[in-house]
Amino acid sequence: MELFAGAVISGITVGILYGLLGFPIVLLYKCTGVANFAQGNIATFLTFVVFVTMRSAGLRILPALGIGLASAAVTGAVLYLVGLRVNADSADHVNMLMRTLALYLLLAGVINVRWSRGEPFAFPTVFPQGALHAGLINISYQAIGATGVAGVLAVLFWLFFKRTAMGVLFLATAERRDIAQLLGVDTRRLTTIAWVMAAVVSLLVGVLVAPTNLLAANMMDLFLLYSFTAVILGGLTSLPGVFAGGVIVGVVGNVVTVYAGDDSSNIAIFGLLLLVLVVRPSGLFGGPSLQRV
């Protein structure tokens, strides 16, 4: 029973991180209609920026993170303006999807060439060392802190979308981009802001993952896979749904690992994904897609 409880608790903590990485994927999908394959490598790239800043400038984690957040904002805007926005009006959906895939590979290449020698790297945590003991499992302050950050971000974004004019414009753009444009909404500006927010959240995920998973070029590869699963399970357009999806993926994965082995956990996770797609195509929390005919 202790082992089961440990697997569930650890599944929840890692699942929240899957959800957190899935969060910017949903955000961008809502705003642009494109699933961003590059999200994991954006997180890794920006975490390396923080790491290199710490090493080269001799800074501690918090000041370096401050510089990293500013870099994330710039990086998010540049990636969108250079990689996605140019000729976007004449590009179809597949073209945009392939652009995010190209970004994924481009960032992977840059990380490999510039920073990967000698990896993995120990990465400091922004939270205190130590852990709470709960039976067999130790819940580190790092994991508790990550859960807290996820919670704060979820509340902030909920407030943003529900209580601010810009948030409402985001939702309007996501719902009917063409009509929003006709009504004078600057959708390009909004999309740029969405990319900035997505990059900032990605950096936070990277900084939360790196202390336990160690900083490496492929640090987010499996995370991205599980995050996409969380996004689909949650309903692709549902911001709360992505966290629920992440927790489901984390708990199922960890419980199956404990009782059936690491190699069986992927079978369970992706089997569940297929089941949900077949039984409930819009995901557990997504609404059905309606079209006027």
Partner: protein, 397 residues
């Protein structure tokens, strides 16, 4: 050395021109074998320069290139310069096979070095079909050891053999105990598990079981909880350096470090592992290294070559392995003399009896048909974030 596309094309064209397609090459073929001209010895290396193990594997080919450059700058081998064409296989068997076909077309003397346990079993049949010698990959595989291909030469025992030797040594020194095994899913991992289980039983210990893991697993907590519940005296790791480091980090976070030691194969005697686990590993990890440690006197020649490399290389487990195998290679080429062919090279290697071909490798003996040339490794522990030698141990093939 990672080459740009135009550079690769240039090298390939040059190799084609001198390996039988061109007049010069055709003339040279009569005097020497494929890949050998009056001025050059051409060999090929397929190695992950990108992908999940690139950070560990690239230093292997960099270390070898540093030694070859050092030798070339001091006159080469019997008047010839060594040209090692390194192609990226991204840790995938299809890419490695494609690289080997390029080497076949280019007519290299041998395929040398490289790193990774996934690609070598895949490229071996192609090399065997063409009769191309395959020398000293950083690959640990019972499949390779038992291949029977007489032109395959290994200086790294399989992970199973490494761990069996280590388990017996550890239990001899620290007493028998219970063992839990975290085994990465790579070709030959089933045999590794059998060898570990057998070694534990032979050493008087108890095999508690373990887990086969996926390379790059995102969360090792459930695995470690399972390990913790089993309360082992020893935890045995057959993992790449990054995953081993992640597992040990998670063990520390979950207060699941074993009562006696963590035992791991050669990947733990490298900078990526030691650098990322820090003090956690001090006094808790026993591992093995195929080569003498970076700080040893034996590694002086490699350190000298690394200092002259551009950019300078760090001497550690992977880069030293590359340098050491390049030293064995240059020694074999030197002994093969002016009339260098694939047959002659194989003949020289087969003739060696306890040959000290590199200052950092144990003496090498291949005999008439064996693939593995070494039966000893360096026993290593980690103290204060540094590797410390504890002498040699026997690795029974």
């Amino acid at each position: 050395m990672k080459r740009s596309a135009p550079a690769t094309l240039l090298v390939t064209l040059t190799m084609l021109a001198t390996s039988g397609c061109g007049l010069t090459g055709a003339t040279v073929e009569k005097a020497s074998g494929p890949g050998v001209t009056d001025t050059q010895i051409k060999i090929g290396t397929t190695n992950p320069l990108t992908g999940p193990v690139a950070a560990s594997c690239k230093p292997v080919s960099d270390g070898a290139l540093a030694w070859f450059n050092y030798v070339n700058n001091h006159g080469g081998i019997n008047g010839r310069k060594i040209v090692d064409q390194v192609l990226d296989d991204a840790f995938t068997a299809p890419e490695a096979l494609s690289n080997v076909r390029q080497f076949v077309n280019a007519g290299v003397l041998a395929v040398f070095g490289g790193c990774g346990s996934v690609q070598p079993p895949a490229i071996l049949p192609e090399l065997a079909k063409k009769g191309i010698p395959y020398l000293f990959p950083y690959a640990s595989s019972t499949t390779l050891e038992a291949s029977g291909y007489k032109r395959l030469f290994l200086v790294l025992p399989s992970y199973g053999h490494q761990l069996a030797g280590l388990i017996k040594t550890a239990m001899h020194e620290l007493g028998p105990g219970s063992v839990w095994f975290a085994n990465a899913q790579i070709p030959g991992s089933d045999q590794t598990e059998q060898q570990v289980r057998q070694a534990v039983q032979e050493a008087g210990g108890t095999y508690l079981g373990g887990e086969t893991t996926i390379v790059g697993t995102s969360d090792y907590t459930p695995l470690v909880l399972k390990m913790k519940a089993a309360r082992p005296d020893y935890v045995v790791l057959s993992q790449g350096a990054p995953d081993a480091a992640r597992i040990v980090q998670t063990m520390a976070a979950q207060n699941a470090l074993p009562k006696k030691r963590i035992l791991g194969q050669a990947n733990l005697a490298t900078a990526p592992f030691v650098g990322s686990v820090g003090d956690i590993a001090t006094g808790r990890v026993l591992t093995v290294s195929p080569v003498e440690l970076a700080t040893s006197e034996a590694a002086a020649s490699c350190r000298k070559a690394f200092a002259k490399a551009s950019p300078p290389l760090t001497a550690e487990g992977y880069s030293l392995f590359g340098c050491g195998t390049a030293q064995i290679m240059t020694e074999a080429l030197r002994e093969a003399g002016k009339n260098l062919t694939r047959e002659r090279l194989v003949q020289i290697l087969r003739s060696w009896q306890a040959k000290k071909a590199s200052p950092i490798f144990p003496a090498v003996t291949f005999g008439a048909s064996g693939n593995l040339g070494v039966t000893r490794m360096i026993l290593v522990e980690i103290q204060g974030g540094q590797l410390a030698s504890k002498g040699e141990l026997e690795i029974a093939p």
